[in-house]
Symmetry: C2
Subunit: 158 residues, 2 copies
């Protein structure tokens, strides 16, 4: 017998996705989102759901591109901040002292300090309700050489 909890958004775990975009003036912005992930193998695509109220929403429509940086546990404080404030009001890169790097493939920045970065060009915009889903085609995935060194060290240690 199962107890009803009502029509709620209760699936776990969810990833921590840091979405990187440029606004129309060229200011880089990041926001933390957790409703998204890989959604297609060929072409490789990721989806991320955003409310229209977010600054990132307009940026993606304007630039037709975004990146998704995957943070580490050590960045939890900054990543929480990225999800609490709007790029409309603050410069999150300046505040966090993280480095915005311009992607060479898409019109969006990524976070230098994060180990894994997925670079996407906008493929589809799907209206769902309060959230809109942005589907991006993955153009490249990049990882820090540092993370590679750590992985090799981890394997050798075993």
């Amino acid at each position: 017998m199962k107890e009803s909890l009502g029509a709620k958004t209760l699936i776990y775990p969810a990833p921590v996705l840091v979405v990187g975009t440029y606004d129309r003036t060229g200011k880089p912005n990041v926001m933390t989102a957790s409703w998204g992930g890989i959604c297609c193998s060929q072409p490789p695509c990721v989806a991320v759901s955003l409310r229209q109220a977010t600054y990132t929403y307009g940026n993606i429509l304007e630039r037709k591109a975004f990146t998704i940086s995957i943070p580490s546990e050590q960045h939890v404080k900054e990543v929480d901040y990225f999800g609490l404030f709007s790029g409309r009001d603050v410069d999150k890169f300046a505040a966090s002292k993280f480095t915005a790097v311009r992607s060479t493939l898409v019109d969006a920045p990524y976070v230098q300090e994060f180990a894994l970065v997925v670079e996407c060009k906008l493929a589809q915009v799907i209206a769902l309700g309060l959230h809109t889903q942005f589907v991006g085609e993955v153009v490249d995935v990049r990882r820090s050489r540092q993370s590679l060194r750590r992985a090799v060290w981890w394997i050798l240690r075993k």
Copy 2:
């Protein structure tokens, strides 16, 4: 400096979603998928990406409904099996000895033994490429009373 890994499907972590459906004869089926999750707050929606080759793909189109059961660590063996074999060839409920329960709200079964179940009616079918994304509106979420007892015990113990 970051090293290019190519256009790959490399976001982590991903959830473990056990998708429950009926086929046209009424046989309950489950498959394990990991490309999906919550995608909208109002109406509450989940998305799951499936290849056309899966048995579940046809079942969802036929029945316009599916459930997502969230397994626990103790079910890892059965959940792996659910992702390796097709319901076209085997009866996964019979083989795993799990219990298929008919949802009272949507035309789909769920796994009695799993602690959390999300019941969905099909809302959108989105062609992405090799994968198709099924968006389901969440009609109800159910949890085992056992999991509630465990949660209460956990809180009281603290």
